[in-house]
């Protein structure tokens, strides 16, 4: 479980790669070690793409809110539970959180 602290920074696990064919409205995440794959929608893809590099949650949430035209509080409400799910599924590097 990810501690909900917006000053935490996250980065996708090296095994997680993101690919999309936006023209077909298709978005995916893949784990190149386990072979697991995940079909995403555009918003989940956009959210995960924020963490290709080490990024603070607060920064990603602001970007997300701005991109989708919602306020940051709503973005938090939407995104944090989802990020927790992905965290539990080892999408993010362990021990990379930095205050």
């Amino acid at each position: 479980m990810l501690v909900i602290d917006k000053e935490f920074a996250l980065q996708l696990n090296d095994a997680i790669v993101l690919h999309a064919i936006p023209e077909l409205d298709k978005f995916w995440a893949f784990n190149v070690e386990s072979g697991d794959q995940y079909t995403l929608n555009d918003s989940a893809f956009y959210l995960l793409a924020q963490f290709r590099n080490l990024t603070k949650l607060s920064t990603a949430l602001v970007e997300f809110a701005d991109h989708f035209g919602i306020d940051v509080e709503t973005a938090e409400e939407d995104c944090l539970p989802v990020l927790n799910d992905y965290y539990d599924q080892k999408f993010f590097k362990g021990g990379e959180n930095e205050k």
Partner: protein, 356 residues
């Protein structure tokens, strides 16, 4: 996108199965060249070298099989394999080791052995007959006459192939013939199908000639789109009706001939349901698109399949160029990327042999 005005829809469709959009079939195909060594030197061959340099050891062949089978298991796919070369019977011990290994694996649905037909002796044929998941032995002929065939495949190969067909059929094995079509043999394709039917051959298929490898010296034999159309149309006319020999038309462009006939045509397999493994483990998107995208021994097969920039370029139909880009048949065809690559230098280019 938004579930309602102030919420962003994030997680409705996260799942873990092989995605239907990437790999729509329930089968995944590996063309596996266990050697490049060959006792023939066919002038249209896509190979350039015929030595054993870099060949995988028996142990690495089996490790490679395990990687392929593990991927199939993860994807929930049945595996089909073409075990080929070079001439795979030059490594007959390893060929049979791999074949028997696949026999014991649930994920392996079946395999074909692609051979030039010159090395089948009685012990080998008996051993082939014992294999559990051998679907077909595929041999090649380039025409209905020795003159046309042997000009490409070497003196005596026509008679040798016919002799091999008869031996294999006598042993109860299923035999397929593959023919590469080019300018000098198109007049013999229909007579060849008739000949093969009389010989008891089970299936016939054709491939378009692509001038690469040894075949690059035969560029003047490449067919125009009109010639391709005429050959495909005539093959369709004789193959569409039931006959003793099945004419396989699962190739891009065939589907244009009759868009309502589900038994013909096929999507280009690159990036959707196939990979080629070379003698040294190098992985190509397709044998006729020889651009390395990884190595089965050194790399993760998942990494190659999920993260190859080339595969992703081809998977996105909006990247295609020319008439392929806007073609209404993109969902079922996409042209031949290998033909586009060899003829135009761009694997995203239009299929120059499409007659539309």
């Amino acid at each position: 996108m938004a579930m309602h005005q102030k919420k962003v829809h994030l997680k409705s469709n996260c799942h873990f199965s092989m995605d239907e959009e990437i790999c729509p079939d329930d089968e995944f195909y590996f063309q596996w060249h266990i050697t490049e060594r060959c006792n023939l030197r066919c002038s249209h061959c896509y190979h350039t070298k015929y030595n054993g340099s870099g060949e995988l050891s028996t142990a690495d062949l089996l490790k490679s099989a395990d990687k392929m089978l593990a991927a199939l298991g993860k994807w929930g796919k049945r595996g089909s394999f073409s075990l080929t070369g070079g001439e795979p019977l030059i490594r007959k011990d390893d060929l049979f080791t791999v074949a028997k290994y696949l026999d014991g694996k649930d994920r392996a649905s079946y395999y074909d052995i692609l051979s030039n037909g010159t090395l089948f002796d009685d012990p080998i044929i008996s051993a082939l007959a014992e294999l559990q998941k051998l679907r077909r032995i595929q041999l090649s002929l380039e025409g209905s006459s020795a003159k046309t065939n042997d000009r490409i495949r070497g003196g005596g190969s026509f008679d040798a192939t016919l002799a091999a067909i008869r031996k294999l059929k006598n042993a109860g094995l299923t035999v397929s013939i593959m023919t590469t079509i080019y300018r000098s043999n198109i007049s013999e394709i229909i007579p060849l199908i008739d000949l093969l039917e009389n010989e008891g051959v089970d299936t016939f298929a054709l491939e378009r000639f692509i001038p690469e490898g040894q075949g690059s010296k035969m560029a003047d034999e490449v067919l125009t789109s009109d010639e391709i159309h005429d050959v495909f149309q005539s093959v369709y006319e004789v193959g569409r009706h039931p006959r003793r020999i099945r004419v396989l038309m699962y190739r891009p462009l065939f589907g244009i001939l009759d868009r309502d006939d589900p038994t013909i045509g096929a999507m280009c397999s690159i990036g959707t349901n196939a990979l080629t493994v070379m003698h040294d483990g190098t992985i190509y998107p397709h044998r006729r698109l020889p651009i390395p995208i990884g190595n089965i021994v050194k790399d993760s097969l998942f990494k190659i399949w999920y993260d190859s920039a080339l595969l992703w370029e081809i998977r996105n139909p909006s990247n295609l160029k020319g008439k392929c880009r806007d073609c209404e048949l993109i969902p079922i065809c996409r042209g031949c990327r290998a033909v586009a690559y060899v003829r135009t230098g761009d694997y995203l280019g239009e299929d120059p042999q499409c007659w539309l």
